[in-house]
């Protein structure tokens, strides 16, 4: 495979890999060139970044219904009790 001729299937793999490791310089350049020309692969890359953001999300803004929905003291005590019996 000539790296300056990456196709969408190659680029999708490289884009995914680039989120986990550093790509060799020539691959990086070839991917970048492809992304400039291919809106679908560019969109794919943005979607993978969204998956990453979704994965790392922690705090939810409680909705109206959930604002009052906190762990009751009773539940907290039950959990603490369960934790105490762990050796």
């Amino acid at each position: 495979m000539k790296h300056w001729m990456f196709r969408c299937n190659d680029v999708s793999q490289k884009v995914s890999q680039s989120l986990d490791a550093s790509l060799p310089f020539h691959h990086r350049m070839a991917v970048r060139m492809h992304l400039l020309m291919c809106r679908y692969c560019a969109r794919f890359r943005q979607q993978l970044i969204m998956l990453r953001k979704a994965s790392r999300h922690t705090d939810d803004e409680p909705s109206m219904d959930e604002t009052t929905a906190t762990l009751s003291n009773e539940t907290k005590e039950r959990i603490k009790k369960a934790l105490r019996v762990i050796p």
Binding site: R7, C8, N9, D10, S12, Q13, S16, Q17, L19, D20, A21, R39, Y40, C41, A42, R43, F44, Q46, Q47, L48, I49, M50, L51, R52, K53, A54, S55, R56, H57, T58, D59, D60, E61, P62, S63, E66, A69, T70, L71, T75, K76, R78, I79, K80, A82, L83, I86
Partner: protein
């Protein structure tokens, strides 16, 4: 005490995903139990809170796996192990990535997106899903995932690629994607 400090925020997260108070409480309790048992393994790379949320996310995914009640990605994706089918013989997209009606910068605030995300993740084949969760939720490096799954770096990237391909396709199929060919970017 973790329960007082993080109990409510973990509960909010669980409730937002599973919708039922009793189940959310159980998941939070299981999270704390697992955390206490594994506290020696807490490496301090992330904050305590991030670590606890990581455990809870595993629990949420397991819960979805055990309680299939909605659309299954596996039903939608004919052969989840064959990601080659996403491309045509010339290497182009068989089904082009659609425009998502979600603000990329605010994906964390989009509850619908997050719900679909966890449901879809629970439908990704186990090994690929494990690699994805280790990488994206637990923040492990490729090397750490290789050790944990006893695979090579190349295998790890293949698993991660497969998980990401299936996840994004699943999200699209269950409603995020809107083909707007006139308004692509």
């Amino acid at each position: 005490m973790w329960v007082d400090q993080y109990g409510d925020s973990l509960f909010h997260f669980a409730l937002a995903r599973v919708k039922k108070k009793e189940i959310a409480e159980d998941l939070v309790q299981e999270t704390f139990l697992a955390a206490v048992k594994a506290q020696d393994r807490f490496r301090g790379h992330s904050s305590e809170k991030t670590w606890l949320f990581g455990i809870l996310k595993h629990k949420v995914i397991d819960h979805y796996r055990k309680n299939k009640s909605t659309v299954h990605a596996r039903d939608l994706l004919h052969d989840p192990d064959n990601v080659d089918a996403f491309f045509n013989a010339k290497g182009g997209w068989q089904s082009r990535p659609a425009h998502w009606q979600t603000n990329p910068g605010k994906v964390q605030e989009n509850k619908e997106f997050l719900d679909h995300f966890y449901r879809c993740l629970s439908d990704v084949p186990q090994r690929s899903a494990d690699a994805f969760v280790y990488r994206e939720i637990d923040g492990l490096s490729t090397e750490e995932i290789c050790t944990r799954l006893d695979i090579t770096a190349n295998n790890c990237w293949v698993l991660l690629y497969r998980a990401r391909m299936l996840l994004r396709k699943c999200l699209e199929l269950i409603g995020l994607g809107r083909q707007q060919e006139g308004n692509l970017r």
